[in-house]
């Protein structure tokens, strides 16, 4: 097996909330190899988002070690962690989290503002093209449908060619067809070699992944490969055709 992209050992995370400390993670160990597409499932409050935050270097574990792409990041300073987020991590959120005043293209360009190395100037345009929104670059988020906004967010996650894409309930705010299209995009990216972790509570979504990790009360309770993996192309083909294109599409 190739060197793992994600290697977490006994990660714990405690939140001090007033008198009682919340043990959001109670010792999570996880290994993800390059090219894997891992779904993380579990009931609400089981620590999925917390784990994703630690893996995405936006938060530090209370205890445990974490290697990203072979590099120990558990003890790095803010500036080094920021650089790792910038270069090695791509985030996708349930609520898209685009900056409303920026156009789609400007949103995709955002990571470039914080890049340390030179990035080709056309990278944002190419990322937008990759998610099928080449013609929507000058639209603002409120002129795009939910599915399109999520595509812009994915383009933003892809733009600096990260080691791993972390998606937290990426289909949670989308109708089933738009959600399936996003999953299709993820599967395509995965086939092209992207490593991804997708948090979801939807088994249907999880069954598109190559492996499902189950969480409960801050612990991993199950970790199995998906034997009968769904192909989003087939699922989409079986879906009823979309009645109309989403109403929010304005002309430029």
């Amino acid at each position: 097996m190739a060197e793992p992209v994600v290697l977490a050992e006994e990660l714990t995370k405690d939140y001090a909330t007033g008198i009682v400390a919340v043990h959001a993670l109670r010792g999570v160990s996880l290994t993800v190899a390059p090219g894997e597409m891992v779904a993380i499932m579990g009931p609400s409050g089981s620590g999925k988002t917390t784990l994703l935050n630690l893996l995405g270097c936006v938060d530090l574990p209370s205890d445990g070690r974490y290697w990203l792409d072979g590099r120990d990041v558990s003890s790095l300073q803010d500036s080094a962690l920021s650089r790792i987020r910038n270069e090695r991590i791509g985030f996708v959120f349930q609520t898209f989290n685009l900056l409303p005043r920026l156009t789609a293209l400007e949103n995709v360009r955002l990571p470039l503002l914080y890049a340390h190395n030179r990035v080709p100037q056309d990278a944002p345009a190419r990322a937008l093209e990759r998610v099928g929104l080449a013609d929507r670059g000058h639209h603002r988020p409120n002129q795009l449908s939910g599915g399109q906004q999520q595509r812009v967010a994915i383009a933003r996650a892809l733009v600096l060619d990260p080691a791993v894409i972390l998606a937290d309930e990426p289909t949670g705010n989308l109708d089933s067809r738009s959600g399936e299209e996003i999953i299709l995009l993820f599967q395509e990216l995965n086939r092209e070699g992207a490593t991804m972790l997708i948090v979801t509570h939807d088994l249907q979504v999880a069954n598109h992944a190559s492996r499902i990790v189950q969480m409960r009360d801050g612990r991993i309770t199950g970790d199995e490969p998906v034997t009968d993996r769904l192909d989003a192309r087939d699922v989409l083909a079986e879906m009823p055709a979309p009645e109309v294109e989403p109403a929010k599409e304005a002309e430029p």
Partner: protein, 434 residues
């Protein structure tokens, strides 16, 4: 994050809330305007002092003829009908040993003409020392000398403006000018002198429009017994009258001004006291003269300027403080409002210092734009002050630079805390909060 994209973000934030931005800037605008006004007044005052020192020095006093009215005028008729006289000047020179130079000046009211065209000029009769006290420099020829005075020579020295008006580019020396009813030969032309400080408080002569002649000639032929300028048509008549009357002896001829120069500024008060005592005795206590101490005027003027500067400085400090607090307040509010934006930026790779820098730069954009608007307002204020207070103000590049520095420093001081608050926002909590 790159500097320019932070600036652009800051500007687009400002444009997204135009009214709010303008209100936020007001304090800085007024503060910076006050800084400009303060510095400009200070620079004007400094220049005024330098001008006084350059043009005349501060080691002089002036005794000016003063017109009286009512009962005092009647009493003056009786006791001291001539007012300030040539004899007074001589007496001061003899009795006051410390005086370095005593210069009598007699204003001549007569029309100046050349080839029939009237030339605007102020004509003074005086002695050679006048050019030394006033530090006059000659462009050509010479000044009135003792021989001219002795001989009552009909010669004159003209200022550069008079020369230009009468002779334009021609050489003036040796040519004639008509003053009143008489012909005068030009013996010298003064160098042009630029007077920059136009303060009405100081008594700096504008020599460019002056004409000087020997004091003896002025007293002989243009003797005046009244203060006001006499209209052209009757001046000849008055002169005729003066000639018809027996001329009083030289010492009793009225003059307009006596300038007393002492070795050092510190002696001006003493000079004024001595001169006052001498004149009091000679004029039988009639207050037909006033004594001006330019050094004292200058000091008063400087003091007024300084007080004004302090007031402006106080306004500037208060405005900047209030404006700065306003900016801090708004910035703190935006930090909370924009927590999600901060979270997003942090997730895509912004470090805490990137975020801090962005918010600090936004504060700096506010104060800099406010500062630039303030500079324009300040220049306007300085102009108004010049117009209404008659003060000389100088808006220098340094003042503008200083204002910009003050604006930037204000931005840093009041933007730093909000910037640190922005940097301290936990990205995931910001994104969790819906």
């Amino acid at each position: 994050m790159k500097f320019w994209s932070s600036i652009l973000t800051g500007i687009s934030e400002l444009l997204a809330h135009k009214l709010r931005s303008l209100l936020t800037m007001l304090g800085v605008i007024f503060g910076i305007a006050s800084v400009i006004a303060m510095v400009s007044i200070g620079a004007g005052a400094r220049q005024e002092a330098l001008e006084q020192i350059r043009l005349m020095g501060v080691n002089v006093i002036q005794i000016n003829r003063r017109a009286l009215s009512g009962d005092l005028a009647l009493e003056a008729q009786r006791e001291s009908p001539q007012g300030v006289t040539y004899g007074d000047a001589k007496a001061i020179g003899e009795l006051y040993d410390a005086a370095e130079r005593v210069v009598p000046v007699c204003r001549v009211f007569g029309e100046v003409r050349h080839n029939g065209t009237a030339i605007p000029a102020k004509v003074l009769g005086t002695t050679p020392d006048y050019s030394r006290v006033n530090r006059l420099a000659l462009a050509s020829g010479r000044f009135v000398d003792d021989g001219d005075i002795e001989r009552h020579a009909q010669v004159c020295v003209i200022g550069s403006e008079v020369k230009r008006a009468a002779f334009f580019l021609e050489d003036a020396v040796g040519k004639n000018l008509r003053i009143g009813t008489q012909e005068f030969q030009v013996i010298g032309v003064l160098e042009e002198r630029r007077v920059q400080a136009g303060s009405s408080l100081l008594s700096l002569p504008d020599v460019n429009e002056d004409i000087y002649m020997p004091i003896t000639v002025a007293m002989d032929d243009f003797q005046i017994y009244v203060e006001q300028a006499i209209p052209v048509d009757i001046s000849g008549f008055i002169q005729l009258l003066a000639k018809l009357f027996d001329r009083p002896p030289l010492d009793q001829r009225p003059i307009t001004q006596i300038i007393v120069q002492v070795p050092d500024e510190s002696q001006t008060w003493e000079a004024a006291r001595v001169a006052a005592r001498i004149l009091e005795r000679r004029h039988k206590a009639i207050p037909d003269h006033e004594i001006v101490i330019p050094a004292e005027l200058l000091r008063q003027s400087q003091r007024t300027h300084r007080i004004f500067s302090i007031v402006m400085g106080a306004i500037a400090s208060i405005s900047l403080l209030v404006g700065g607090i306003g900016i801090m307040n708004i910035m703190l509010a935006t930090v909370t409002q924009r927590a999600r934006e901060i979270g997003i930026r942090r997730c895509v790779g912004a470090s805490r210092s990137d975020i801090a820098r962005q918010f600090l730069l936004e504060a700096l954009v506010i104060t800099s734009i406010g500062g630039i608007l303030g500079i324009f307002l300040g220049i306007e204020m300085a102009t108004l002050i010049s117009q209404y207070a008659g003060w000389h103000t100088i808006v220098s590049g340094q003042a503008v630079l200083l204002s910009l520095v003050v604006a930037v420093v204000t931005g840093v001081i009041f933007g730093l805390y909000p910037a640190m608050r922005a940097a301290g926002i936990q990205p995931m909590e910001a994104l969790r909060a819906e």
